[in-house]
């Protein structure tokens, strides 16, 4: 078995792993990465990017379907779902190739195969052509996550599919039951419904997108119902089986969450501490074993690509002897790319009240935004939760057009510890959707102009 030495070995090349590898290389470390699927991980290949491509298709189709509203008559329009999937594959391939290019540019060696830790500083890679041993000063685990199922329900990726099957499926579905109304479930429900499937969404908790603010959930439920997506909340799924039942559909999509991918990594033998199934890490992303780091989905929620990337930078800088600034997990935006989009940061109104804070709420509906009316996308609102005494931006909850872009004004604001005052003294271009951010903030101090 050949042995090679590096400063750093990164297992997994999703957004956590590839960013950590690049940052470490920039800081002068020699870096190897190990990947048993395609570079780019879930995010670029099977998650964020291909789903965003499919959602764009759904949006274009939506515009074609309502072209009449704009006085444009379209006849003979045909939506080819297989072509949509093909397009999403092209997009994903291009982004994954981009990662390979960045690896080459930064002189990062990519090893194809399954990695296993044989010591905190050595990884064995079982590849197609044999096994290799990589030794390093430090190792980063960035192995991501895999879909979970419900007890007794097997995902066969034919009748009962996970996001892995959903993103690859090329046939236009007539009907689908989506179990779980979090981001992944809602996004696929959006795509399939737009392409004509009869969609039923089931959620065990009392509302859709349950981690979001109550009012956002209520608005999303209204918007999805209007699109004929059936929503059943507070329901417990008993069993999923072939044949008849309370609900039947061509396919069932399990979107009930994801579990850390630690199988076969050899973490037990090293005595790595887990917490609720995820690898426990310090603010510097170090595990309970010195020199061994973990980032991204495998290191715990929120399971988001941008959180994985930010943790990758922290880990790489810590390993390179820098003094990285730890993540502020309350300042990670959470985004769902359905129509209308959802984006939030900080505490929900309910959480802020539970914490006993005296808060004021400002809300601005997109129906009052000139830009939103011009676009013909007026569902939703911006809601600002501010601290009464200090004006701190405690939380922001947006549902509506381009919500996922608007949120960053507040992300920057919170990072700089700006208060509502700085937001309201910032001149927002007119007409833009971001004006709704300004107006909602003004509303939080009782000074909204346009409502």
């Amino acid at each position: 078995m050949a042995t090679q030495s590096f400063d750093l070995v990164v297992v997994g090349t999703g957004p956590g792993g590839y960013v950590a590898a690049i940052r470490a290389a920039q800081l002068g470390l020699s870096v190897a990465t190990v990947e048993d699927d395609r570079p780019g991980g879930v995010c670029l290949n099977w998650g964020c990017i291909p789903t965003k491509a499919l959602l764009r298709n759904a949006e274009v189709l939506h515009l074609v379907n309502r072209a009449e509203d704009f006085g444009i008559r379209v006849s003979g329009a045909e939506a080819d779902y297989a072509a949509a999937v093909k397009r999403s594959r092209t997009v994903a391939d291009r982004m994954a190739k981009g990662v390979e290019f960045l690896f080459r540019k930064n002189k990062i060696t990519l090893f194809s195969g399954r990695g296993r830790l044989v010591s905190p500083t050595a990884v064995e890679v079982a590849g197609a052509t044999g096994t290799e041993r990589l030794e390093a000063r430090a190792v980063i685990i960035a192995t991501g996550s895999t879909p979970k199922s419900l007890p007794g329900v097997t995902i066969d990726e034919v009748k009962v599919i996970s996001s892995n099957g959903a993103v690859r499926n090329e046939t236009r579905l007539r009907s689908i039951i989506v179990i779980g109304a979090g981001a992944v479930g809602v996004e696929f429900a959006d795509v399939f419904a737009e392409y004509g499937a009869e969609v039923t969404m089931l959620e065990a908790l009392p509302r859709v997108v349950p981690i979001e603010d109550d009012e956002v959930s209520a608005q999303l439920a209204r918007s999805l119902s209007r699109r004929k997506i059936a929503i059943k909340t507070g329901v417990k799924v008993g069993a999923v089986k072939p044949g008849s039942g309370d609900l039947t559909a061509e396919v069932v999509l399990m979107a009930v969450g994801r579990a850390a991918r630690t199988d076969g990594l050899g973490l037990d033998a090293l005595g790595v501490t887990l917490e609720r199934g995820f690898v426990k890490v310090s603010p510097r992303m170090e595990t309970s074993v010195k020199g061994l780091y973990a980032i991204g989905d495998v290191a715990g929620p929120p399971l988001l690509a941008h959180k994985a990337m930010a943790e990758g930078v922290v880990a790489a800088e810590a390993i390179a002897g820098r003094d990285p600034r730890p993540l502020d997990y309350l300042n990670v935006p959470s985004c769902t790319y359905c129509r209308p989009q959802i984006a939030s940061i900080g505490l929900t109104e309910a959480r802020a009240r539970q914490n006993g804070r005296e808060i004021s709420i400002g809300k601005f509906p997109f129906t009052a935004s000139g830009k939103a009316v011009a676009l013909g996308e007026t569902d939703g609102f911006v809601k600002v939760v501010a601290d009464k005494a200090t004006g701190e931006i405690v939380g922001v909850h947006i549902i509506g057009p381009e919500a996922t872009e608007i949120i960053h004004e507040f992300a920057v604001g919170r990072t700089l510890e700006a208060t509502v005052e700085e937001i309201v003294h910032t001149i927002h271009a007119h007409p833009t959707l971001s004006e709704a951010a300004l107006e909602a903030t003004l509303a939080a101090i009782g000074q909204a102009i346009h409502i």
């Binding site: 006993g356 005494a389 510890e417």
Partner: protein, 286 residues
Amino acid sequence: MKASPLARKIAAQAGVDLRLLQGSGPGGRIIRRDVETAAATPGAAAAAVAIPATRQPGVDEYEDMALTPMRAAIARRMPLAKAPVPHFYVTSEVAMDRAWQLREELNALEGQPRISVNDLVVRAVALALMQHPGVNASFQGDAVRVYHRAHVGIAVALDDGLITPVLRDAQAKSLAEIAVESRDLAERARARKLRVNELSGATFSISNLGMFDVTEFSAIINPPEGAILAVGAVRRVPVVTDAGVDVGRRLLATLSCDHRVMDGAMGARFLQDVKRLLEEPLRLLV
């Protein structure tokens, strides 16, 4: 000095002097955490001052008591309150005979909360502050901030220090409401059950040492407040009347003022109004 907007606001409300802080943000910027640490957990400062007690009984002539967190907080805050704030003092004697009588009558009413002398003083101060907004004010570096509401801090003595819970919107509260609320604050202060937001945001404070038979004293202003009233005991003293010498109840009150915010005459006029309200106590009821 670099500080985030939020850090500045919290510092102004908690009375933390930003100039004395070391920023932990990028490039030494003072961020919220720095201010909150300074305001709430004096642990770091306490650790630096606390001296482990190495005592040999019968040998040493003294012993060093480790600072409690509260003692450490007071030790850290007071020089910041006293030295940078130019204090001046005005004292006035208040005839409390009628207020005393009114209080006895009120306390004889059934189903009414017990009113203390301090409750009368709080009410008088809150009403007077509305007439003298210049005293209900705070020095902000480049401006004097005048408050429209009277949030009155009431100093409560504890075995190992003191704490000043805030009675909010005192100007809008009746004597009975003030009595109930300040008793609740004082009880929870002694039980250490106050919430953080009940300890900040005062616009003016009152310190009353009457229960210790103190004749008069002067108090240190709690920045960023602009003034504090020190209240002594109500004493029975001989008073000269047209008919000769009589016995009257008198109280001495000393106002400490931040000279950056106000001048002597302004403080004196405010104190005059407090005196008048207490001497014509029916005004406290309307």
